[in-house]
């Protein structure tokens, strides 16, 4: 069964601090994605990756960086966290044809 694991599941960060959200997939999928979900906005794409070493900007990349050091791992980095980045973040992976995207359980981030 497709598996995408996110850590941590919950995080409280202080404004101006650095936050790293981690994602691991055991699906051997080339494509990985980071989304944030906010009421009224649905799922908005932050960054995505086609494979190890690649990162691409999504629709709302400002304030976020991404890192794909291996096929299995894809991290989202907030160098200077702000309260506006309080949200639920989902990592996902998809196969070459993007016929299905599998989501992790989400990370609830609160920036105070």
């Amino acid at each position: 069964e497709a598996a995408v694991t996110q850590s941590p599941r919950n995080k409280v960060a202080v404004t101006g601090g650095k936050v790293t959200l981690s994602c691991n997939q055991t699906n051997n999928h080339n494509n990985m994605y980071w989304y944030r979900q906010d009421t009224g906005h649905g799922l908005r794409l932050i960054h995505y990756s086609y494979g190890a070493g690649s990162t691409e900007k999504g629709d709302i990349p400002d304030g976020y960086k991404a890192s794909r050091p291996s096929q299995e791992n894809f991290s989202l980095i907030l160098e200077l966290a702000t309260p506006s980045q309080t949200s639920v973040y989902f990592c996902a992976s998809g196969d070459q044809g993007n016929t299905e995207v599998f989501f992790g359980k989400g990370t609830r981030l609160t920036v105070v």
């Binding site: 649905g42 799922l43 691409e56 989902f90 998809g94 070459q96 993007n98 016929t99 299905e100 359980k105």
Partner: protein, 113 residues
């Protein structure tokens, strides 16, 4: 700009009725349109999907109708059940070499018994 638009934002139907959820898109290169559903406190999961070579895709009580010329599609849920109450996302992607998958803002469906 929003590449995938959904309406209505929320919808309430009675048990047994047909719920109709709408979606439109702008990018003509999109060639795969999945619908995902999400229950409270859970992750989105694939429900049904269609490619533009077809104008209809059916899976049990769930049917996608697709109009390529107008860049519109809709999800029809017949004989709606309370267990269908969820948020439904229309999504779109393109290419076989890996491409970003974009989602609409979702329709929150409530089926009242």
């Amino acid at each position: 700009q929003q590449q995938v638009r959904q309406s209505p934002q929320s919808l309430t139907v009675w048990e047994g009725e047909t719920a109709i959820l709408n979606c439109s898109y702008e990018d003509s290169t999109f060639d795969y349109f999945p619908w995902y559903w999400q229950f409270p406190r859970e992750s989105p999961a694939l429900l049904i999907a269609i490619r533009p070579v077809s104008n209809k895709k059916e899976d049990g009580r769930f049917t996608i109708f697709f109009n390529k010329r107008e860049k519109k599609l809709s999800l029809h849920i017949t004989d709606s059940q309370p267990g269908d109450s969820a948020t439904y996302f229309c999504a779109a992607s393109a290419g076989t070499g890996g491409y970003k998958v974009v989602f609409g803002s979702g329709t929150r469906l409530l089926v009242s018994p």
